[in-house]
Subunit: 237 residues, 2 copies
């Protein structure tokens, strides 16, 4: 693109940018990103949460916040929920409104979420990635020095298959891998797939979160699981 | 693109092309597409199954087939499994190999799956869509007269939120909606969300499939649930 704005690293006062990704959809990326952001904010850090899933922005629902504050003259102001600054395409389109955009539009939307939002100084920016290994993660890795990525997977074979593609992508983009979280362990999806993936790739296994109806309910109601039941084993992981 | 190949409707002997989509990932699109294709083939129809999820191609695993037959001089030949012709990016890349492609590459890969594969005469082509409302469904709808789309959702709020974006996309692209299937009903994800979506959109509710560990196992082992336990309520839906 000729305007020069679309290429290269953006200049933002963010100390650590951490991507939460997978490869497969519906494995709990948004749930883990929301709980991680809230846990970091509760411990006193200045935290932002960016929903980079432009086609399926669920973060506003999971954080229980519907609207953005009024913008400044030329920038968007993130919403504030549970002590975390939040930005998502979900705030900018009507509920149920599909964004039937090709990849190039995705690229510029993500750049604008980094350059045209008043994030202020942040200790952490947690980025909820969409499923797949396409435009969104590629644009992010080229725009921001990602300090690390967390890989989320379900334990069963097809999820681990896609998670290993996500892992391969982070390696190719030279993003350090912080570790693997195995989610929804239990009778239906089994357990152990995520741990085996971490071992075979030589990266830390950060633990597993059992399948728990309460986690799902917390996401639907916008009250992150961590806050509602601090001691439950799902929250601790 | 200047070569003219990339635009407009392709000319293929396919009587009905049916897309299985959602909006959200991990809701069971591949599982429903596989079982639908096998059910149609078992009833005697000539059926193809196209895995349009280029970034997360799980169809080969779920159909228990790893390799393609040798190509002809200039076209790919689909694999044959359970009486269904199958084509997927999963056959063309090494396991765990990520495709870090921008949208434009996705567009041409999907076009080639329609023009450069020896499908032969088909009564049905079942197309497993990726999550989201981006390049893949857009390219398909512009390349092939889709006779209909089936929307798959989990019953909980965040899934229904993304499914309604998928629904909005099909309406915008003027693809007739055959109905909604609600998957993984039970204690964790609840039930009723899919039925309510179908009712509010005025489209048929095709039924619900309970959360059932056996369905997951069948997918991991490449033996579609329908074949292994024909009478189970999951297969009937
Ligand atoms: N451990 C868990 N137990 C039960 N439900 C879960 C768990 N983790 C996530 N969920 C639910 O599963 C659904 C998918 O999770 P989500 O975070 O949206 O995944 P992704 O971001 O990968 O698409 C959501 O409804 C969420 O509340
Ligand atoms: N009714 C069900 N009960 C239990 N597991 C299911 C059910 N439907 C699908 N699954 C499993 O859930 C996972 C996600 O399903 P998949 O078909 O890959 O979804 P999508 O194509 O939407 O990403 C797979 O491991 C699949 O075997």
């Amino acid at each position: 693109p000729s305007d020069g704005k679309n290429r290269g690293l953006v200049d933002t006062p963010i100390r650590n940018a951490i991507a939460v990704g997978s490869g497969k959809g519906g494995v709990g990326k948004s749930t883990i990103a929301v709980n991680l952001a809230v846990a970091l904010a509760t411990s006193g850090a200045r935290v932002g949460l960016l929903d980079a899933d432009i086609y399926g922005p669920n973060i506003p629902t999971m954080m229980g916040v519907e609207k953005l504050p009024p913008p400044t003259k030329d920038k968007l102001v993130p919403a504030l929920a549970h002590g975390v600054k939040v930005m998502s395409m979900g705030f900018l389109v009507k509920p149920g409104q599909p964004l039937i955009w090709r990849g190039a539009m995705l690229h510029s939307a993500i750049r604008q979420f980094l350059t045209d939002v008043v994030w202020g100084e942040l200790d952490y920016l947690i980025i909820d990635l969409p499923p797949g290994t396409g435009d969104a993660p590629l644009t992010l890795a080229q725009s921001l020095p990602l300090s690390g990525a967390i890989l989320v997977t379900l334990p069963q074979a097809v999820s681990v298959e896609d998670a290993s593609r996500g892992l391969g992508m982070f390696e190719k983009l030279e993003v350090p891998l912080l570790g693997v979280i195995e989610n929804m362990t239990g009778d239906v999806f089994g357990h152990g797939g995520g741990e085996a993936l971490a071992e075979s790739a030589g990266i830390p296994f950060l633990g597993s979160v059992p399948m728990n109806g309460f986690v799902r309910l917390a996401g639907d109601q916008g009250q992150p699981a961590l806050l509602a039941q601090p001691d439950s084993d799902a929250a601790v992981a």
